[in-house]
Structures are given as structure tokens and as C-alpha cells.
């Protein structure tokens, strides 16, 4: 570990200095290595009087503290990425208050790859979840998918990308905790196959600001953000706004008028976000070509039902049956075979829509 890295680690994890104080110290010293070596000197001039007396120690004591911390991290199979590390994500430097240190558990290699963020609110319509899953699966081919760990939209992105292992989840809490608690099993799975990131090495409860802070990291890590669902005051919009602020591209799913879970998405379109209908829209935006999947062979009734569904959005099974001239139970059988082929998705109330 270099002196610079040690400096960042010590400042964030071993002191109780706030972000502003850390920045002031770093600016005064110009070089983090120098700051680490001669902290006493800078603290006296930079910090307020009641704070500068707190950390009177010499460089060897600081070394000891940092070594103890990194040993503890290692024991727990975790690592720290500091602003001085070679694999510190470049995009992160451009967000508001870029984190001095990020802690990770899992596949560190993923940090070096190109990343794309997919987020959605906790209440996401079933079709959007299905589509989000499909998008994540296809985009994970070229990018590492970055998302949160909440239910709904985030979970959809995770389940799509998980198989490929190209998945990074940024936690709002410490690496020891899990919020929401129901996702503990998922969190462990991601640590084994993908990568978990957090600003906090061990325990840290979530509070009101945690999600806001986490969302700026999501936006900072990724090249672009896809919002699969967002109400008009949804937290996903924070991620989207952070992305816009730091010059990232924002993509959204289209929503019908009057659908609450999509008001935020439509507002984003109004302000200039890209509307996407298939994963290829995103991949080709970045100059990739999507791998064409083999066309599925459909029967006569299946083709008919697909045609009906592609003409209008969500339809009730009985309406589909009526338009296709089938009995309701015949339509149910056809729809469930299409569902198995991944072409339609079922939402509540016996309604179906094409993907």
C-alpha cells in the first residue's frame, strides 16, 4: 500500500474528520503522502482549534492504525479502493463529493471494466421488472451492471445480470449490514459472484441521507443510467439527476399516461432523456452491436396472440381470447407457453403484455 493510499484510508476510517475537513487538509498539503507524514503540522493550521488537538500522534502510530485496519479488512475478505488507487473508477471523481475510499467485497476486477447503471423504484410494474431483467441480461454482455440492492427495479437488474457475474451492487449501509434486511441472501450471493461496494467498511446503519449519498456513487460509476421505473418523487430520480449533473447519459422506459410508477420516467423524457424500447438502443448508443438471439419458432395461435399483444399494451386474457377467436382456456395455454418462451409477461389481474 502506498503512502497516498494509507493517507486516504487513515483520514476516512481512523479519524472522525468530516468530508470538508478532509478536503481542506488534502488541499493544504497538496500531496496525500506528505499529509500522512506530517499530519500534525497541517492540522494545526487547517483545523479549527477544538479539532486540531484530537489527533496528536506521530507517523508510526498512524501506520499502526492503518495496518490494523487493512488486516481486519483482509480477514473479512474485503478491500479498500482509495482515490490514490490505480483502479479507482475515473467517473467517480466527477460526482459531488467523490468518496475518498470505497470498500468492496467480491470480484475487484469488475471495477476496471466499463459500467452501466440500471435502477428502478421498489414498486415497479411486473412488465417493467421483466423487461429490466431482459435489458440487464443483454447489456451485461458488454458492461458491468451497477445497481442498488432494493426490491423491485434493482432486484430485476440483479437477476438479469447475475448469471454473467457482471454485477456491482452499491449498498447504502455498511458491508456488514443489509438494507432491506430481506435481501441478505441476495447480498451474499452477489459477494460471491459479483461485487459489493459501500462507503463504509463494517457496520453502518442507514439514515435519511444514505440513499442520496449512495445514488451519487451509482451515477458516478456508470457510463450511463437506465431508469426502469420512477414515481414523480422517487429516489431513482436522484441517481438520474446525479448522472445528468456529471454528464452521463440517461435512458428511460416509456410509460403510459397516468401510471404513477412511471411519472418520473416521463418527466425525464421531457427534460431530454433517451427513451429506449430494447437493449440494443443502449448498446448501439455506445457503439456495440447486440448479439442477435435466435428467433423462436411460434405456432399459429402463438403468432396470432403475439400480433394482438404487439398492437396494444396490456390486455386481459379474456380480451386476447376474444380478439384471437379462441376459448379463454385455449388462450391461457397459449399465453403460458409464450410466457415460458420469454415473449410475454403476466401482471396482476390476469393481464398480459408483450415484452
Amino acid at each position: 500500500m502506498t503512502q497516498e493510499e494509507k493517507c486516504y484510508l487513515w483520514l476516512t476510517a481512523c479519524t472522525k474528520l468530516d468530508y470538508g475537513e478532509r478536503v481542506a487538509l488534502l488541499n493544504a498539503a497538496e500531496n496525500p503522502a506528505l499529509l500522512f507524514r506530517e499530519f500534525e503540522k497541517f492540522s494545526k493550521t487547517v483545523l479549527k482549534e477544538d479539532r486540531n488537538g484530537l489527533y496528536i500522534s506521530d507517523v508510526s502510530a498512524r501506520e499502526k492504525e492503518v495496518n490494523a485496519l487493512s488486516e481486519r479488512l483482509e480477514r473479512k475478505n474485503r478491500f479498500a479502493v482509495t482515490m490514490a488507487s490505480s483502479d479507482y473508477p475515473e467517473g467517480l471523481r466527477h460526482v459531488f463529493e467523490p468518496p475518498h475510499v470505497l470498500y468492496g467485497k467480491g470480484n475487484r476486477e469488475l471495477l476496471k471494466r466499463e459500467k452501466f447503471c440500471i435502477v428502478g423504484s421498489r414498486i415497479t410494474p411486473p412488465w417493467a421488472e421483466q423487461a429490466g431483467r431482459k435489458f440487464a441480461e443483454e447489456i451485461a454482455d458488454k458492461f458491468v451492471i451497477v445497481t442498488g440492492i432494493a426490491e423491485g427495479g434493482d432486484s430485476a437488474a440483479i437477476s438479469g445480470a447475475f448469471e454473467s457475474g457482471n454485477i456491482i451492487c452499491v449498498l447504502p449501509c455498511g458491508l456488514d449490514d443489509c438494507y432491506p434486511a430481506s435481501q441478505v441472501a441476495l447480498k451474499e450471493k452477489i459477494a460471491r459472484k459479483g461485487l459489493l461496494l459501500s462507503e463504509f467498511p463494517f457496520q453502518e446503519r442507514v439514515h435519511k441521507g444514505s440513499f442520496h449519498a449512495r445514488n451519487r456513487i451509482l451515477a458516478g460509476l456508470a457510463k450511463g443510467v437506465l431508469v426502469i421505473s420512477a414515481g414523480c418523487r422517487s429516489g431513482t430520480l436522484i441517481t438520474a439527476n446525479c448522472a445528468l449533473d456529471s454528464g452521463k447519459d440517461v435512458f428511460v422506459f416509456p410509460y403510459n399516461l397516468g401510471v404513477k410508477q412511471g411519472e418520473g420516467c416521463n418527466n425525464l423524457v421531457k427534460t431530454g432523456a433517451f427513451l429506449v424500447t430494447e437493449a440494443e438502443d443502449i448498446l448501439s448508443f455506445y457503439g456495440y452491436t447486440a448479439v442477435k438471439k435466435q428467433a423462436v419458432v411460434l405456432g399459429r395461435e402463438e403468432t396470432l396472440v403475439m400480433e394482438i399483444l404487439s398492437q396494444s399494451g396490456e390486455l386481459h386474457a379474456a380480451v386476447i381470447a376474444e380478439r384471437a377467436g379462441l376459448q379463454v382456456f385455449e388462450a391461457a395455454a397459449t399465453l403460458s407457453s409464450l410466457e415460458l418462451k420469454g415473449l410475454v409477461t403476466k401482471s396482476g389481474g390476469n393481464k398480459y403484455s408483450a415484452l
Partner: protein, 510 residues
């Protein structure tokens, strides 16, 4: 002189013969009852005394000892009154020349000497007939119920005087005519107002209902409030196959024991029981102090047990349903002994899709998060859901959306198809000791439900794609079998499997 009279006590659904022995001796006037009589039996003394006096008969002023044999069986209720009175008359030599051999006396006495009806008469008659008794004297108010048992001389009497006159041969009571159990009986009386033709829309749920009845499957309906779940459930008995006489008799026995028999004397329509969600385990499964009374699940025997708002029921109450659902009977143990009642019912449950109730609703949007919905659904345990083969969503689709909306099919038309499917199953399972597809075990599944290669592929794909639990497999196959039966197809075709998969909404969730 000692007299012996036969009457019957109830033990569960079986009648147990009880001998009433009376000895009238010279001595200080005294009235003693032995042989474990309970309070109601002991109090018969006063009823008998008044009834005798008011019928113009003598209550002997002697030392009277009455014994109920067998002595170790607890005797409950007032149905021994008539036997005690007759026994007393016989012992005090007031019934000269009467032949009381082989006659079973049943009935409660009023102070004026009239006979009051007793509950559980039919099961007693059936047991007694099995024990070889052929002559019965019963309260006239129970006549209707008794008339469905053939092969016995049954004399319905209105009062003690009539009984005495009959016994001494002064005025014979005409024996009861055995009634034929015919369709007219079944449909007479309170006619069920439910009919599928009054159910608006609901094409998906209708179909599920038909499959459920055809294969004897249990059914769970999930839907927002006010979509007609209860209405649909009420139609279930109307599409179920007609009761056979034996079934009707068995159901009547249970209702008779519970004292819930109406004026018709026999339960001719399939029961539809809707216990409220505050029901206790005891009220559901049966219970009581010493004698166990049948619970809701036994009263629903042969019919439908409808549990509205399933997650609101107490967990323990729901878990208690698992064994009866499996075995078709329930054994309840109490201090008085262990009682077994039949409980082969169709379980139909309904619930909201989420705590706010609007998930999947056309008009309102749901405000629940995924974890809230999951927590709500977790209230119903997996093992119970395991026993529910069909899970269907009931939606509130409006009529305007269906332009060619025809009036719904009537229950009779659906029943026709159900009967057809049941006939196929009857022929298939004639050597297996089961009646319906739902009852199939592993052995029957492998014999009768072999899937084509294509069907097997579909199932495998289903598992991978929809994350179905392993136990869902056999249920899908059973339902697919029933769908094939409704289609009159001896093989299970891919379309049947696909349709069956669409009725597993809950397995897709977890």
C-alpha cells in the same frame, strides 16, 4: 320385577346400545339412577314423573332403581326419557301383555307427556339396524329424518299415551312409509339461489372452478375486494355432481349429530360452510367437553368449505386443516374418548392479492411494496398451499372491455361437463380406491399421468423459467390430467400442461 328396555346413546357418528334396567321394590320410596348418567339424564326423573302423571299413568311409590348398561359409558342428553318411562311402566306392571322385545325406544319427554325430537336419530337408527334391531318407536318430529332408512318398522309417536296404547294393542300407530331418495327431494325446500349464469364475466375464474370441481381439486381465488370471489364460491355446490343416497345419508348423519337437520329430514344438497375468520381450531375441527361435536370441516363433508380472506384466519386453525385435507377424516381426542368424523370436503379459499387489495386492479393502483406483498402472502403456510392445486386470479374486468359479452353459462351446463370428467375418472380409478384426480398418489401419477416427451420438456422449462418449487410438479400434472379429462383426451397433451401451468400463480411468486 325387573324390566329391560333398549335405547341408544351416540358415540361420534355411531350409536351404542344402552340397556335401561328398572327394578321396582317394596321399601322406602326412593329413586336411584346408576350407570354414569349425566345431569340431563338424571333430570329425566322429574320429566318422567310429570309425563306419567299427565298421561294418566301411575308413578310407582316404591324403591326404584334404574341402571344404564354398559355402566362404563357416559350417557348424555334427554333421548333416554322415553326408555326410562316405558321401563318404569313395565317394571310396575302397567303394561300387561305388551311385547317389548327387540323394540328400541328413543325420545325426550315433555312434562305433559308429549314426545320431543332428539338429535342424532338417523345415525342411531342406522347403527341399531346394523345391530339387528328392526322395531323403533321415535318422536313424530323425527319422522322425516327416519323415513329415509328402509328395512325397519318405525313407529312415530306424538305422546307417551300413544306409545302406551300402541304397546298394549289398544290403538296401533301406523308404521312409517320409507321415502325414496329422489331428485325431487334434493331440489325441494330451500333452493340455492346461486348459479353460474348470474356471475358476470370472470372467464378465467369460471374455468378454474370447473376444473377444480371436475378433478376434486382445492381452489384458491386471489383478487381485489368486490370482484365476486364469494359469489363464485357459492356456485361451487351447484356444479358439483349430485349426491348419491349413501353420500346424502352420511352427510345427514353428521348434521343430525350436530342437531342441525332442517325440516327436510335429510341433507339433499351439498353443504356450503363459510366459517368466519375468527373461528377457533375447536369450532373448525370439532370438539366439546366429553362428547365431541362435529366441527365445520365435518359439516362441510361432501360439500365445500369456503374460507374467505384466508390470511386472516389464525395460523393454528389453518394448520389443523392439513391432516383432514389429506386423510378425509378427523380424529379428535377428548377425555370422553376419541371420536372420528368424516371430513372429505373441497376447500375453496379466497384472499386479497396484497395488503391494500388493489394489486392487479383495473381502477385503483396498488400502493404496496414487494416485501409487503410477500409478507402478506407468507401468512398462508407452504404446506397448506401445497394442498391447493389451483390458484387463480379473480379480476374485475369490466363488461365494456368484452364487446361480445354473452350471458354466462349456467351451472347446469358446467355440471354436465363435470359429470363427464368424473365418469372418466371413475372408470380409471375403479381399482385404486380413489375417486378423483386430486387424490392421486405417486403410484397413480406414474401409471395414469405419463407425459409425452414434449410435455415433459415444457414442465422442465417451466421449472427453470418460473422458478417453481419442486412440489408444484405433481400438482401441475394432476391438474393437467383433469384438463385432459374435460377435453375427453386420454393423453395429456402439451396444451393441457400449458393451461395447468397458468393456474399456479403462487409458485411463480416465490
Amino acid at each position: 320385577m325387573v324390566s329391560k328396555i333398549i335405547c341408544y346413546a351416540l358415540n361420534g357418528l355411531d350409536g351404542v346400545p344402552v340397556e335401561v334396567e328398572t327394578d321396582v321394590n317394596k321399601g322406602v320410596p326412593q329413586y336411584e339412577m346408576v350407570g354414569l348418567p349425566d345431569t340431563a339424564v338424571k333430570e329425566s326423573k322429574e320429566r318422567v314423573r310429570s309425563a306419567l302423571k299427565n298421561s294418566g299413568l301411575l308413578f310407582p311409590i316404591n324403591k326404584i332403581t334404574i341402571n344404564f348398561a354398559p355402566a362404563d359409558l357416559k350417557k348424555e342428553g334427554a333421548s333416554f326419557d322415553l326408555a326410562v318411562a316405558i321401563s318404569l311402566l313395565k317394571a310396575s306392571e302397567q303394561l300387561v301383555g305388551a311385547d317389548l322385545n327387540g323394540i328400541v325406544f328413543l325420545g325426550e319427554l315433555a312434562l305433559g307427556g308429549e314426545l320431543r325430537p332428539v338429535s342424532g336419530l338417523l345415525p342411531i337408527l342406522i347403527s341399531a339396524k346394523g345391530h339387528g334391531y328392526r322395531k323403533f318407536i321415535i318422536p313424530a318430529a323425527n319422522a322425516k329424518e327416519a323415513s329415509f332408512m328402509g328395512g325397519a318398522e318405525i313407529y312415530p309417536a306424538h305422546s307417551l299415551t300413544e306409545v302406551v296404547k300402541h304397546l298394549v294393542g289398544v290403538e296401533k300407530i301406523p308404521p312409517l312409509q320409507t321415502e325414496e331418495f329422489v331428485v325431487s327431494v334434493r331440489t325441494a325446500g330451500k333452493k340455492s339461489s346461486a348459479d353460474l349464469k348470474y356471475v358476470k364475466g370472470q372467464p378465467v375464474a369460471r374455468r378454474a372452478l370447473e376444473i377444480a370441481v371436475a378433478g376434486g381439486h382445492n381452489l384458491l381465488m386471489v383478487g381485489p375486494p368486490g370482484t365476486g370471489k364469494t359469489m363464485l364460491a357459492r356456485c361451487l355446490p351447484t356444479v358439483m355432481p349430485d349426491l348419491t343416497f349413501d353420500e346424502a345419508l352420511e352427510i345427514t348423519k353428521i348434521h343430525s349429530v350436530a342437531g342441525m337437520l332442517g325440516d327436510e329430514g335429510i341433507v339433499g344438497v351439498r353443504p356450503f360452510r363459510t366459517p368466519h375468520h375468527t373461528a377457533t381450531t375447536v369450532s373448525m375441527c370439532g370438539g366439546g367437553n366429553r362428547i365431541v361435536h362435529p366441527g365445520e370441516i365435518s359439516l362441510a363433508h361432501g360439500g365445500v368449505l369456503f374460507l374467505d380472506e384466508l390470511p386472516e384466519y389464525k395460523r393454528s386453525t389453518l394448520e389443523a386443516l392439513r391432516q383432514p385435507l389429506e386423510d378425509g377424516c378427523i380424529s379428535v381426542s377428548r377425555a370422553g374418548g376419541t371420536f372420528t368424523y368424516p371430513s372429505r370436503f373441497m376447500l375453496c379459499a379466497s384472499m386479497n392479492p396484497c395488503p391494500c387489495g388493489n394489486y392487479g386492479s383495473a381502477e385503483r393502483t396498488c400502493s404496496c411494496t414487494a416485501s409487503e406483498i410477500r409478507r402478506y402472502r407468507k401468512k398462508v403456510s407452504g404446506p397448506l398451499l401445497d394442498r391447493i392445486d389451483l390458484q387463480v386470479e379473480v379480476d374485475n374486468i369490466t363488461y365494456d372491455e368484452l364487446t361480445s359479452a354473452e350471458e354466462g353459462e349456467s351451472s347446469a351446463a358446467v355440471k354436465e361437463r363435470v359429470n363427464g370428467a368424473r365418469r372418466i375418472q371413475h372408470a380409471r380409478f375403479k381399482d385404486c380406491g380413489i375417486n378423483t384426480n386430486a387424490e392421486m398418489g405417486e403410484r397413480e401419477l406414474s401409471t395414469f399421468c405419463t407425459l409425452s416427451r414434449e410435455g415433459d420438456d415444457i414442465l422442465r422449462a417451466t421449472f427453470e423459467k418460473l422458478h417453481l418449487s419442486a412440489r408444484a410438479r405433481s400438482r401441475i400434472v394432476k391438474v393437467a390430467r383433469t384438463i385432459a379429462d374435460l377435453d375427453s383426451s386420454d393423453r395429456i397433451l402439451p396444451k393441457h400442461v400449458y393451461e395447468a401451468v397458468s393456474y399456479r400463480i403462487y409458485d411463480k411468486m416465490d
